[in-house]
């Protein structure tokens, strides 16, 4: 999956990754895909909850070693 924006929040602890994601999503256009990189073990569940609450679409979560890669499509 090719994201429009990539946000690297690796080695940041809660709430750093979610704040970084929210900022990137607020700047992105509807339909764009934001990729968030995080090592915080809470990030996948936090992003899942945040997406459900805000209406942005969580497309996929993958893991590469200690790094979670989360793809979020910005809603309109």
């Amino acid at each position: 999956m090719e994201p429009d924006v990539t946000v690297d929040a690796t080695f940041q602890t809660c709430p750093g990754p979610l704040i970084a994601l929210a900022e990137a999503v607020s700047r992105a256009a509807p339909g764009q895909v934001v990729k968030l990189l995080a090592t915080d073990p809470a990030a996948p569940s936090d992003v899942r909850e945040w997406s459900a609450g805000t209406g942005h679409k969580l497309l996929e979560i993958t893991r590469d070693g200690d790094v979670y890669e989360m793809y979020i499509e910005v809603s309109g």
Partner: protein
């Protein structure tokens, strides 16, 4: 939209961090957050005052927090709070009686403080909150 209401009654770092983390996370999730700073918590809103200590019970762990902050892995509590305030959904109230107790006026408070308020005002803001917490 959901709402969280927090009473922040301590300016110790181990109290401020969870309070602002919850408030800002709520705000960036589309929630409203109402924060009432009272008693020692009010000191955190004083211009030129920089809270620097954890609670006495946890002094042995203070260096771990300072290291996390210095490394950049953990954002500072005020940075987190500002990010919440920037959404327009975090409201900060300063307890009027605590203000008087410290001999302070509204002019002594940080600019992001929305207003000086009493208990009844905060109760009015908090009465329909789904999440309410007292942080002390």
């Amino acid at each position: 939209m959901p709402k969280i209401a927090l009473i922040v009654a301590s300016e110790r770092l181990d109290k401020l961090f969870p309070a602002v983390t919850l408030a800002t996370t709520a705000a960036i999730s589309g929630w409203e957050a109402e924060l009432f700073f009272t008693f020692w918590g009010l000191l955190a809103l004083k211009k030129g005052y920089e809270p620097s200590e954890v609670s006495l019970d946890y002094q042995a762990y203070q260096d771990l927090l300072k290291e996390a902050l210095a490394s950049g892995s953990m954002p500072g509590w005020r940075t987190v709070l500002h990010q919440g305030v920037a959404t327009g959904r975090v409201k900060i109230y300063a307890c009027s009686s605590s203000l008087g107790m410290f001999g302070m006026t509204a002019d002594d408070l940080e600019e992001y403080v929305d207003s000086v308020a009493g208990a009844a005002t905060f109760l009015g803001k908090a009465k329909d909150a789904e999440v309410t917490l007292f942080v002390s």
